[in-house]
Amino acid sequence: MPKLIIDRQIVDNTATLLRSAEDGAFAAVPAQGTVIVPLAQYLAQKTELNARGDVGVWFAPDDEPELLGADAAALSLIAVEFPAFTDGRGFSIGRLLRERYGFTGELRAFGDVFKDTLNYLTRCGFNAFVIREDKDIGEALKGLDDFTESYQSSVAQPMPLFRRRHAS
């Protein structure tokens, strides 16, 4: 069973991630088990998928959180793909989902995800990480502790350092 990190715990990854065909045709949704569907599929089949339950939505870097909007708040799992760790669009997606659209469920990063990306991801609101298969997931977990202090307002710490400095 593949693994992932959720809230600092290494657990089994039981969800099935569905990808559309190259021509955009949506994949068939299996009857059982947690599925994570592309944003476009969710928007097209929202009623059926919500009725089925056990459904998450995933974002490609150029998917717009605005399209999901307040519906995000009703979901329990959203995943964001990082095709390359140097593509930082997913950071903005994470923050928008958390800070603007009220998403409080599991926010999962997958793709080119490894130790050195976890700190920024966490601060942008991600709490789950599918570590690349060729990387040591235990080693990756330590990346969450690379930094214990930061300057900016973020999902993990909404109060920027300057506000906390003055509070103390």
Partner: protein, 563 residues
């Protein structure tokens, strides 16, 4: 200047530990070259032609003497006993060993220095006026705002992997010495009629392959909203900037494609959500940071120092140096002194370990232990008493730091070029040195007046050739090095991009070409008219005619796809 507290220090120390681990994993094969590259770049580490190159951040150009001594020690211990000041107020080492870099960073951290975000597709070191806080024409000291931006931009989680690099410059004076119009974001700190401080925000300026002057998208921004507004600009860029082609990935391309008006509107739309949020600056924070930049305890002088005024008249060499290298201070009896790093025979911006140590001593002796780096690749002592200038000049001469040529033709701004940089198409340093050699007559140089000669070894334009009155760009043609000349560029308030004169030239032709350009200028000049004004008046044609006279078939081979 700004002094870290334990929290600032902790962040820098944790970065050192993180990079030590990353380097270890790379050397152990746990990180691939492709993975390590963006990580090391965000720590200023390039792999260059001969060795790694480490770029050390000098935030907004401010340095303390104790920091300079550590820079000297690093040059001596880990490099070939020199460092190179860049066109972005930073310092580069050209010869460190990869395995030594974590230790170099640890040494830098002991004096509150680092190499964070000096490279890579992230927010780079914020730059400003080298005379900030001391310039006679200053409206608002830009340094507190630079520091606030430094903290905001350091490890900003959302903007760690932008489409491309991102440079912010801040100006607070009447004359724009920070070149804000050729930055991704240019911030002009101004006062309104009521005397309140605010910002004008320009976006989308830049040099490189597509030189563009920045557009004003926010004519007045209240200080407390600075960071939320920057967040909005960066978020729009992070989401919509092109990532498919690195030559079209800078914010200037996005701003141009959307139009500045539409880009500004998109930013406003985003800002509505961020404005008044937790990142809104507090007066307490503005005061905390500003306290680090209050004026020192100046001695009080009635006016100019009489001994200085007399020496300036009597001693021609000293008078010249004062004319070129001493800048008017806001405090009576004081002066800002530029230490020229443009000594004949030495690559522009290069400085040896011994020179660095000596400079640190001079800063302690004459300038309250503080220095500045300028984007023209010189160093500045910002707090010198006029009565000390003569003695300082004598000491600088002995150190070969007194070339009285600041702002003149031979104060060449120049990137490291093909001698060091793996991006370069052509060498730049030998051309700069050859031009300096050709124009070694000081009387003549002075007669010519102010001429900015800027030179880059490739389209990345680290030598800011587009905004040089005379710009030189190294180009690759079928594997050999050629040089393209442009005229009419300028930086500052009326910044403009130079125009290419015509087909490019071989290396050995360059001093001759520059001489012909200068001769056209001299022949057409009226009185003391500056070069750039003559160019504006007579246009490109006379220069072109003279430079290409007798060269009907001298067109170089077709340029390699590079533009």
């Amino acid at each position: 200047m700004y002094v870290y507290d334990e929290l600032d220090q902790k962040i820098v120390d944790q970065r050192v530990a993180q990079f030590r681990d990353q380097t270890r994993r790379y050397l152990a094969g746990e990180l691939t070259e492709d993975e390590f590259r963006p990580l090391r770049l965000q720590n200023g580490l390039y792999i260059q032609r001969h060795a790694p190159m480490l770029r050390v951040a000098v935030p907004y150009g401010e340095l303390a003497s104790r920091q300079v001594r550590v820079l000297a020690k690093i040059a001596r211990t880990y490099d070939r006993d020199y460092g190179h000041f860049t066109t972005r107020q930073n310092l580069q080492y050209n010869w460190p060993k990869l395995e030594d870099v974590p230790q170099i960073l640890a040494e830098l951290a002991t004096v509150q220095m680092h190499a964070i975000q000096t490279s890579g597709n992230c927010i780079r070191n914020t730059t400003t006026d080298q005379f900030a806080g001391v310039a006679h024409d200053e409206i608002v000291d830009p340094r507190p705002w630079c520091e606030i931006i430094r903290e905001w931009s350091t490890f900003h989680p959302e903007f760690a992997h932008l489409p491309r690099k991102f440079k912010i410059a801040v100006n607070g004076a009447a004359e724009d010495r920070a070149a804000i119009l050729v930055h991704d974001i240019g911030i002009n700190v101004i006062r309104n009629e009521a005397g309140e401080v605010g910002f004008q925000i320009y976006v989308g300026g830049g040099l490189g392959r597509t030189p563009i002057i920045g557009s004003l998208i926010k004519p007045w921004l209240e200080p407390m909203h600075l960071l939320s507004y920057l967040d909005a600009v960066l978020r729009v860029y992070n989401r919509y900037g092109r990532r498919d082609n690195k030559y079209k990935a800078r914010i200037k391309i996005l701003v141009k494609a959307m139009t500045p008006e539409a880009f500004g509107a998109k930013v406003e739309q985003e800002w509505v959500h961020l404005k008044d949020g937790p990142t809104t600056l507090t007066q307490g924070e503005i005061d905390r940071v500003s306290k680090f930049f209050t004026a020192p305890a100046y001695e009080s002088f009635a006016g100019d120092d009489a001994g200085f005024v007399a020496a300036r008249q009597d001693n021609k060499g000293f008078g010249r140096w004062v004319e070129r290298n001493v800048f008017a201070h806001k405090q009576p009896g004081y002066a800002c002194v530029t230490l020229s790093l443009k000594h004949p025979g030495v690559a522009p911006g290069d400085v040896s370990g011994d020179q660095l140590d000596a400079i640190a001593d001079l800063a302690d002796k004459y300038s309250l232990g503080e220095l500045r780096a300028s984007h023209e690749q010189n160093l500045i002592l910002p707090y010198v008493k006029q009565r000390d200038l003569l003695a300082l000049w004598e000491e600088l001469k002995a150190l070969k730091l007194a070339s009285p040529t600041v702002g003149l033709l031979t104060d060449v701004v120049c990137c490291p070029g093909g001698d060091f940089c793996s991006l370069a198409n052509a060498k730049s340093i030998p051309i700069a040195l050859a031009i300096q050699e050709r124009f070694d007559n000081l009387d003549y140089l002075y007669d010519l007046g102010e001429i900015d000669l800027n030179m880059s070894g490739c389209m990345n334009a680290c030598g800011h050739h587009h905004v040089g009155n005379i710009g030189i760009l190294g180009v690759d043609k079928n594997g050999s090095e050629w040089y393209q000349v442009s005229l009419g560029g300028r930086q500052g308030v009326g910044a403009s991009i130079g125009k290419v004169i015509g087909p490019s030239f071989a290396q050995d032709e360059m001093p001759e070409v520059i001489e012909k350009i200068i001769n056209v200028f001299v022949a057409a000049r009226e009185g003391e008219e500056p070069f750039i004004d003559v160019f504006d008046r007579i246009g490109m044609e006379p220069f072109k005619t003279r430079v290409y006279a007798g060269k009907p078939n001298a067109r170089a081979p077709k340029e390699v796809a590079d533009a």
